[in-house]
Assembly symmetry: C2
Homo-oligomer: 527 residues x 2
Amino acid sequence: MDTPIGLNGQLLIGAASQRGASPEVKGIDPATGAELEPAYGAARPEDIERACALAHAAFDAYRGTTLEVRAKFLETIADNILAIGDALVVRAMQESGLPRGRIEGERGRTMNQLKLFAEVVREGSWLEARIDPAMPDRKPLPRSDLRMRNVPVGPVVVFGASNFPLAFSVAGGDTASALAAGCPVIVKAHHAHPGTSELVGRAVQAAVKTCGLPEGVFSLLYGPGNSLGTALVSDPRVKAVGFTGSRGGGTALMRTANARPEPIPVYAEMSSINPVLVLPHALASRGEAIAKAFIGSLTLGAGQFCTNPGLLLGAEGKDLDAFVGKVAENLPACASQTMLTPGIHKAYSGGVEKLAKIAGVNTVARGQAPAGPNAGQAAFFSTSAKTFLADHALRDEVFGSSSLLVRCPDVNTMRDILESLEGQLTITLQMDPEDMAYAKALLPVLERKAGRLLVNGFPTGVEVAHAMVHGGPFPSTADGRSTSVGSLAIYRFLRPVCYQDFPAELLPEALRDGSSVPTRVNGKRGG
Amino acid sequence: MDTPIGLNGQLLIGAASQRGASPEVKGIDPATGAELEPAYGAARPEDIERACALAHAAFDAYRGTTLEVRAKFLETIADNILAIGDALVVRAMQESGLPRGRIEGERGRTMNQLKLFAEVVREGSWLEARIDPAMPDRKPLPRSDLRMRNVPVGPVVVFGASNFPLAFSVAGGDTASALAAGCPVIVKAHHAHPGTSELVGRAVQAAVKTCGLPEGVFSLLYGPGNSLGTALVSDPRVKAVGFTGSRGGGTALMRTANARPEPIPVYAEMSSINPVLVLPHALASRGEAIAKAFIGSLTLGAGQFCTNPGLLLGAEGKDLDAFVGKVAENLPACASQTMLTPGIHKAYSGGVEKLAKIAGVNTVARGQAPAGPNAGQAAFFSTSAKTFLADHALRDEVFGSSSLLVRCPDVNTMRDILESLEGQLTITLQMDPEDMAYAKALLPVLERKAGRLLVNGFPTGVEVAHAMVHGGPFPSTADGRSTSVGSLAIYRFLRPVCYQDFPAELLPEALRDGSSVPTRVNGKRGG
């Protein structure tokens, strides 16, 4: 196969690009198992050093740019991504096994994220500007003039995610929010889509140049997850980390970050089984429709979403039997789907096999048999509440189209099961108006256990918006005080600084009298 | 000595009070070394268990109270503290060695903090309410109704601080902000002021009862820092930690918190030497006045502030010589002051002795000789930039009235020294208008290194306000994204939750249409 235009198999370090070290690795088309040109070498220690040094050197100048310059930079990245054209779509399809519609949609989402953050940057609320004017005549002591704003934390390392080759990778949500905050970004490309990463990386690199920004604002490195990731997260010039991936990978980064002389925040989005509670009236009145919608959510994108519904809770009885019957009737028709990588496919198949063998777990239905080398076959299991509560292995995420129904004696048991779970990204209630009393009783538990709560929807499909929360208590994310999707994500990369009795000339522009940035004066929201 | 009214030497666990286990310990009057009645026993494992269980049980009900109920609770605590009357002032003076004026001022500050947070709670901005209304006709996919608010993280453990027996102890800033956020609080009393802690603890306990809140909203435990602190921070029901104290203590808590199955945030305020840069024109034009003001800040409260100016930077020359001469002339007249505890006095004396013996460090001046068993004698040292840059021991905080001047060849060297430092709570510029170019060149470094920057003031004296930041990069605090003083401190104990397509009846009141809470709609700030 010919190398597509624009792909050189190079690391991007600031404005430069160069080959990495041996051994080189290639992307793999999971639909066929074939290797994809070109090969990518790994970042050497001196490459890592240079990327970190450039990021550090760029930091003060980059964060000192006007809001308009930074917004324009984000928009330029979006434009440059679109300008790559179909080559990007084709390469991302090849490397991920995802269909054209999904990749085109994801490209749109990636661009929209960048544009959303451009808007957010311009609006300026994220600076959290606050002014408490001096009170020179206050007794017993005068008050100084106090002004506060958020500043960016410093260079951020972003790990590309396997399951969103565009929207959570090189120029995805983590990168967009970090750049919006004023942080230079070093991306560690995910080995599953090196070519897609290079194409997007060159789009970002070009935007840095066009916008006249210091070259260290962006670098893209390739290399083994463990060694490259550890080296980047350990570097003293790196001040925060964005990661989407496995629990093992995320917690390893947390340990590395905490062991530094200066610990730094890790925003790792790791593991969630996204419980869906089907409440009794809803189950009785529309169990069939819920079963069909559930299958749709379960099998979407081969189940390769952090928000895949991996756990269903329902109260025993004929309505639940009918629901199960409906899933058993419809799931076998679902075609297998190529998964993102051979490794993910292997982990999925292994996870499903392991679940099927656990005593007390019944295999209710499987999807169609695999039609390709890395095709995932959907799986739906059921078990009793007693078995579930007794076996912690049943709470582990199986990444892919696998879900486990827990047959509960009653709604109180659903509550007990929720209480027994670790933190989740989402929890969903399927409910009718007659289920309101149940829902109200459950709500405090839901709020403690998850970052996003849904009624009568399914958790797959994460809107990029201002009120979105894609984050939840550990281990769904490393830091449940944050979100990695939506405009609130910018706050992950900010810290407050107070300026006391500063002369106007020395104050940052946002904090001067008459600044156009939204400001609280004496705690009151102003113009 | 008779036991003061209201002091029983008891642990407060929810609504109950009871004696702790042997060995019991007593407070010590540092001015005399005498023990103070009564004795306090330590929390047993079952006491810790009960306090945590009660806090967990109280959490949903407490966070479900209206903003008005919670604000009233904070105000009631403030009223109850004042109602203790002079017995509180007298006891705090005895236990801390601090003078009446300081303790009365601190009581006022403690009450003002509680009242400030009552206002903050009522105003409601901290909920960060956001609504992105449904767009049912959007193509290609409709958008759900998304609503977001902050919820409290869960029960918080607060460690009383030795140096603020009221304002950063049982009902101090950490407790006030956690209660404001909706978190039950378990306080570990500082052994330096057990009686003060009990008096204030009973004021909080009474407020819980008066306000009809669940008893688990507040408990007060006594016991050895290591074992009790570790047990509390390890408890799975505890979700965040507030601490002010030593770097060793704070980092130990961070390790404990990170080693939990569910890691939790630790907000530890630990160590800072608060550099003061005297820029050349200011040094020439008003070196004498700066020297006098510096001595005032250095010796305030026996130097026992996190913001004590422990490092001075000035450019070599006759102006710096004159400045040093002025300090050498005035410091010897400064009376010694009783320090908070025998342990703190010992650590201070040891730190000063160690500094004096380091080659290249000159003892410029000392204050008056100690007038009591635990009286601290002020100390002012000088060294060269070369010595300072070569010896990391010179960067360690010496808690008390000790400061080190670094004679720099020029302003660029001041910058190099700042770059070599770890994170700080504050950095101060003493500058004249003619120093503006220097100040502008230094500002980016200041912003990276500290949470509060001052011009022509001194860092002691931390205003409780909306724009205050008392927090900085590690190790000045564990988490430089936060402040422990001022209204922004409430954000430490919050996390966002998104409600997707919720029926109005199930939504929290703050997120319903027409709610009076400040709300962003589609990212725009509304009414």
